[in-house]
Each structure stands twice: as structure tokens, then as C-alpha cells.
């Protein structure tokens, strides 16, 4: 085997079989590089998801004993405002008087509160339109046309049960997962 090819024209010297073997090897090697490259993407994407400390800090306890009827407090849940409101009998009545079927996001007050605690309304203080904080939780703030919350950014009106009644918001104020750990303490998240 003294053949030495001096120029770079492998196509002319490889046999039919050789070409196939070469193609297979090249494709395998390039595919392996591609798989490796894709594998690298996973941690690079994953690192931007919430880190362990952020996920662990996603539960909050709120003491509701000091809330008078008609008052609300603002707490913080997942770095976002949380409204906890004790409804007056009149507000409960107003909420129940509304026909559920006519609403944009049909839910009754009972759907949005815990059994035995229908006067405690727990919602995120985040407008479902574009995320502003609605007014109405603090003393003296505008409560909107329906006596609940009003978002000043784009004029969404929520009723006493925190349901969307007028304006661009698509859904009711979100009720996060929570439970009563005692009669006066709720744990959110």
C-alpha cells in the first residue's frame, strides 16, 4: 500500500462503501455534538426559574383577629399584596343579591370564601387585567361603582366579593389557596 494522495480530493479516492461509512461517522459525531449542545441548554434555562429560597418563602400566615367588619388589611404573599377583608352584613347581602349567571366570571360569594367564614374575603391585591394594585382596601380609598375594589390603572370595578363587574379585567380577583389554622389565623399558600 504505497499510495499516497497528495491533494485534498477524498471524493475521488473513496469507494462507494467508504463514502457510506464516512457519512455515518460524520453524522454520528455531529449528532453527538448537537445532543451535547442541547443538554447544555437545560441548566441554562432552568437557572432562571425561581430558586429554592424563593419557592420556600411561598407561604404566609395572617392574623385576622383585629379586622373590624368593613375593614381590610394588606398582607404580602409571594411578594405581592394580599387583601383580607371582613365583610359587613350589607356587603354580604349585596354580593349574594347579584345573579351569578350575569357575571363575566361567574362565581358566588360562597365559592370565594371558606365555609363558616363567609365574612372573610381573601384575595390577591392584583388586578387581573395587567397587575396593578386595586384601591379599596385601605380606609378612605375609592371602592368603585360596586363598593368593592377599583383599579385606577385602566378602570376595572370589582364588587364586594372581589368579582369583576366593569372594566377591562377578564376575571375576578384571584383567591389564593389558604386555610384557617385557627379561628383567627389563616395560612396562605
Amino acid at each position: 500500500m504505497a499510495d499516497t494522495t497528495a491533494t485534498a480530493t477524498p471524493e475521488t479516492t473513496t469507494t462507494e462503501d467508504g463514502i457510506r461509512r464516512r457519512d455515518f461517522l460524520d453524522i454520528a459525531a455531529v449528532s453527538a455534538a448537537g445532543i451535547g449542545g442541547l443538554a447544555v441548554v437545560y441548566p441554562l434555562v432552568s437557572q432562571m426559574a425561581p430558586s429554592k429560597d424563593v419557592l420556600a418563602a411561598s407561604s404566609t400566615e395572617v392574623d385576622i383577629s383585629a379586622i373590624e367588619p368593613g375593614q381590610a388589611i394588606k398582607a404580602v404573599f409571594r411578594k405581592q399584596p394580599l387583601f383580607v377583608k371582613r365583610l359587613t352584613p350589607a356587603e354580604i347581602e349585596a354580593a349574594n343579591a347579584t345573579a351569578t349567571g350575569s357575571l363575566r366570571d361567574p362565581q358566588s360569594l360562597a365559592d370565594r370564601t371558606k365555609e363558616g367564614h363567609e365574612d372573610i374575603l381573601v384575595t390577591m391585591g392584583v388586578c387581573t387585567h395587567l397587575g396593578c394594585v386595586p384601591l379599596g382596601a385601605a380606609e378612605g380609598e375609592v371602592k368603585g361603582e360596586f363598593g368593592g375594589y377599583f383599579c385606577p390603572c385602566h378602570g376595572s370595578h370589582y364588587d364586594t366579593a372581589g368579582r369583576i363587574r366593569k372594566g377591562p379585567a377578564p376575571t375576578n380577583l384571584e383567591v389564593p389557596e389558604y386555610e384557617f389554622t385557627s379561628d383567627t389565623v389563616i395560612q396562605v399558600g
Binding site: D3, P43, S46, Q47, A49
Partner: protein, 431 residues
């Protein structure tokens, strides 16, 4: 510019034709690292390290950008956010270890790349500009690595920042104001940490820019090769793709194996334990040492122990340390031997293997050792040789040395004959 036999890019379909007429990026790639770039056919594995250096630059930029998403450059929390990355961020430990060891591997491959350049005199005409840009890249790398090491705000970070900025304090008259200006204070603190972070983020992109110039300059004369004989004809070259893409792919595989073995199984082997102690301005570590890749230069800095006439020892050390790298800028004009490759230069080869390499090893060891005997005296001898080698021996032997006979061409060196000159003796069938 290229050799006349370089393959021409031909757009094959509508999309590439469209692109070629408007933004000929595929053509640029084809001519730079594709089949359009003819490369000497006899490159050894020592020619792999340029591509590897580029690869590790990309690794550093990608992992660094990710780390910057989680790190906070504030002396109160810098150490804690580094631990936050290690403990809580998804795959944060992998990103940080990949970045820390990536710096080491970047330097390893760049040192091998420089070693290649020194032995094969890749700095000689017509490739001076490639070499000069390479030295600029190396200086930028050193600055970037130094500032990056400060960011975790451990003990070595803090004291490294203090000691290295203290070097500028050696400059007569203006030294101290310069040091205070560099730090934005009287000791490293928030001001220093923030500017180091800013520059540490910026400089890699400057490096990437100079790398592009480095490659541009390379494509003017084309790659050098182990014989040092310039390309004469088409039979001396092969297209970069697929020949050297395949060879670089294999080299990359080996480099990645070693790199990830370090990242996953010995991630702290190249670091210093003291940097896991939070910075404490009131307590200095027992031995302040820089990262391993600075050891040879740190040894040169410390080798000057007595005042030299009117120059204080401290200033002399600083001058020598900077001079030890800056003198590389003059290499193309110091070494005037007409022969490039060390393989054909008997005298140069002896000084290279039995002088420069042992001196570098001694400097490396002494730079990492405490400043005590015998390390100080050993580093003094090695430092003396270092300067003698580049500034005295190289200029002299390039005049007095009688080089060994060179092959006529690369083809002859590879095949034993070149049919263009030795007609009739070629045993290979005509292709």
C-alpha cells in the same frame, strides 16, 4: 486575501443566494473556518489550542452572564449571593464551578497556545500583528481574571485586590493617589467591588473583539506550521473544513473531558480555601497567593528584594513584572533568525528546552510558595534567566546560530518528497 486555489463559496439555494447578496455572513464563515480557508496539511495537535481558547472564552461569557443574573456586587452581600448561587439557584453550583474552572482552562489552553507560538516562532514576519494582538488578548485576560477573582469577596479576593492595586502604589510620587483612585477609597470596598464587576463584565467582550482582529490578521498570511516553511502550492494545504474542523472537534472532546472531570469531581482543587472565608479587612491570610495562572509573574514580582541604585525594590519588582510580559511585544524584532521552527534551530532548541522551560516551571512553583528560602533565591535565578533568555540570548543566537537544513516544502516534509521538485521519484499514483 487567500491562496489562489482557495475554494470559492457558492450559494446553493434561494435563501443563501439572498443572504449572499445582502449580508454575506455564510461566505465570511466559509472563508474563515470553512472549506474556503486553505490550511497547511501538517499542523500538529499544538495547533488546536487557538480554537480551544475561543471555545473557553465563549464558556466564560455564557456562564458569566448567567452568574451575573444572580450575583450582587455589594460588599455587604457579595459573599452571601455567591453562596446563594451555590445553594439555592437551580444548577447555580454548576454555573459557578464551570466559570471558576473555565477560567483555569482558558489560561491552560492560552499558555499552550503561547508556548506553541514561542517554540515555532509564530511571531515572525509576516505574522507580527497576530502575535501583538495575541499579547493584547493575554493582558486583557489577566485584568479580567484578576477582577473576577475579587467578586466573590472572600479573603483572597479582598487581599488580592489590595495587594495588586498596591503595585501601583510603587510608582514614585503619583503611586498612592493612583491606588486610591483605582479603589475609589483607601481599601477595597463597595466602590472597588462595583467597578471591578462592571469591568469584569465589559472586558470579555473587548477580548472577543480583539480575538476577531487576531483571526482577521491570521487570515492574511494564513496559518503557520511545524516546519516553518511557507505554503508554496496547493498540495501543501487542505481546506479547513472538514479536515481541521474534525481535528478540532476531537481536540475539543479531550479538553471537555478534562474540564468536566475537574468541574464535577475536583471543583475546588485549583482554588484557595481562604476564599471560602468572607472578606475581613482586619485580618490578612497567612499566605496571600494569586490564582495559579499568575504564579510565574508573581514570582518575578517578589524576586526583586533589594534596592537597585535609586530604584526601590518594590518599584523594581513591579517594573520587572510588567516588563516580563510587555517584552513579548518586541519578540518579532528581537529574534531575527530567518528560520521559524525550533525543530531546525539547534541552539535555540537547547536554550528553549533546558533554559526557558525549567525557568518557567521554577517561577511557577515559587510564585505559589510562601516568600521564604529556598523559593526566593530559586525565583531570583529563574527571573534572571527569563530576562536573559528573551532580551539577551534570543537576539544573540539568532545571529550566531547555524540552522539545520529545511525541507523544500510542507508536502516534502509530510510525504518525503514533493513531485514538483523531485520529478520521477514519486511512488504515488497521480491523482
Amino acid at each position: 486575501m487567500s491562496f489562489p486555489w482557495a475554494r470559492q463559496y457558492e450559494p446553493k439555494n434561494g435563501l443563501t443566494k439572498f443572504l449572499d447578496e445582502r449580508l454575506p455572513l455564510p461566505r465570511l464563515v466559509y472563508n474563515a473556518v470553512g472549506a474556503g480557508y486553505p490550511v497547511p496539511r501538517n499542523l500538529s495537535y499544538f495547533w488546536n489550542f487557538g480554537v480551544l481558547a475561543g471555545f473557553f472564552l465563549v464558556v466564560q461569557i455564557v456562564t458569566g452572564v448567567v452568574l451575573a443574573m444572580h450575583y450582587a456586587a455589594n460588599a455587604q452581600v457579595a459573599f452571601a449571593t455567591t453562596e446563594h448561587i451555590m445553594r439555592d439557584v437551580n444548577w447555580g453550583w454548576l454555573m459557578r464551578y464551570a466559570h471558576a474552572n473555565g477560567a483555569s482552562f482558558f489560561f491552560i489552553v492560552v499558555y499552550l497556545h503561547i508556548f506553541r507560538g514561542l517554540f515555532y516562532s509564530s511571531y515572525k514576519a509576516p505574522r507580527e500583528m497576530i502575535w501583538l494582538l495575541g499579547v493584547v488578548i493575554f493582558l486583557l485576560m489577566m485584568a479580567t481574571a484578576f477582577m473576577g477573582y475579587v467578586l466573590p469577596w472572600g479573603q483572597m479576593s479582598f487581599w488580592g485586590a489590595k495587594v495588586i492595586t498596591g503595585l501601583f502604589g510603587a510608582i514614585p510620587l503619583v503611586g498612592e493617589p493612583i491606588q486610591v483612585w483605582l479603589l475609589g477609597g483607601f481599601a477595597p470596598d463597595n466602590a472597588a467591588l462595583n467597578r471591578f464587576f462592571s469591568l469584569h463584565f465589559l472586558l470579555p467582550f473587548v477580548i472577543a473583539g480583539v480575538v476577531i482582529l487576531h483571526i482577521w490578521a491570521l487570515h492574511i498570511p494564513g496559518s503557520s506550521n511545524p516546519t516553518g516553511v511557507e505554503v508554496k502550492s496547493e498540495s501543501d494545504t487542505v481546506p479547513f473544513h472538514p479536515y481541521y474542523t474534525a481535528k478540532d472537534g476531537f481536540g475539543l472532546g479531550i479538553a471537555l473531558l478534562l474540564y468536566f472531570a475537574m468541574v464535577f469531581f475536583l471543583p475546588n482543587a485549583l482554588g484557595h480555601p481562604d476564599n471560602y472565608i468572607e472578606a475581613n479587612p482586619l485580618s490578612t491570610p497567612a499566605h496571600i497567593v494569586p490564582e495559579w495562572y499568575f504564579w510565574p509573574f508573581y514570582a518575578i514580582l517578589r524576586a526583586f528584594t533589594v534596592d537597585f541604585f535609586f530604584v526601590p525594590a518594590k518599584l523594581m519588582g513591579v517594573i520587572a513584572m510588567f516588563a516580563s510580559i510587555l517584552l513579548w511585544f518586541f519578540l518579532p524584532w528581537l529574534d531575527k533568525s530567518p528560520v521559524r521552527s525550533g525543530h531546525y534551530r539547534p541552539l535555540f532548541r537547547k536554550f528553549f528546552w533546558f533554559g526557558l522551560i525549567p525557568a518557567m516551571i521554577v517561577l511557577f512553583i515559587c510564585g505559589g510558595a510562601p516568600a521564604e528560602e529556598p523559593y526566593v533565591m530559586l525565583s531570583q535565578i529563574a527571573t534572571a534567566y527569563y530576562f536573559l533568555h528573551f532580551l539577551v540570548i534570543l537576539p544573540i543566537i539568532s545571529s550566531v546560530e547555524k540552522p539545520e537544513p529545511l525541507p523544500y516544502s510542507i508536502t516534502e516534509a509530510v510525504l518525503g518528497s514533493d513531485k514538483k521538485v523531485v520529478k520521477g521519484e514519486n511512488t504515488s499514483p497521480a491523482v
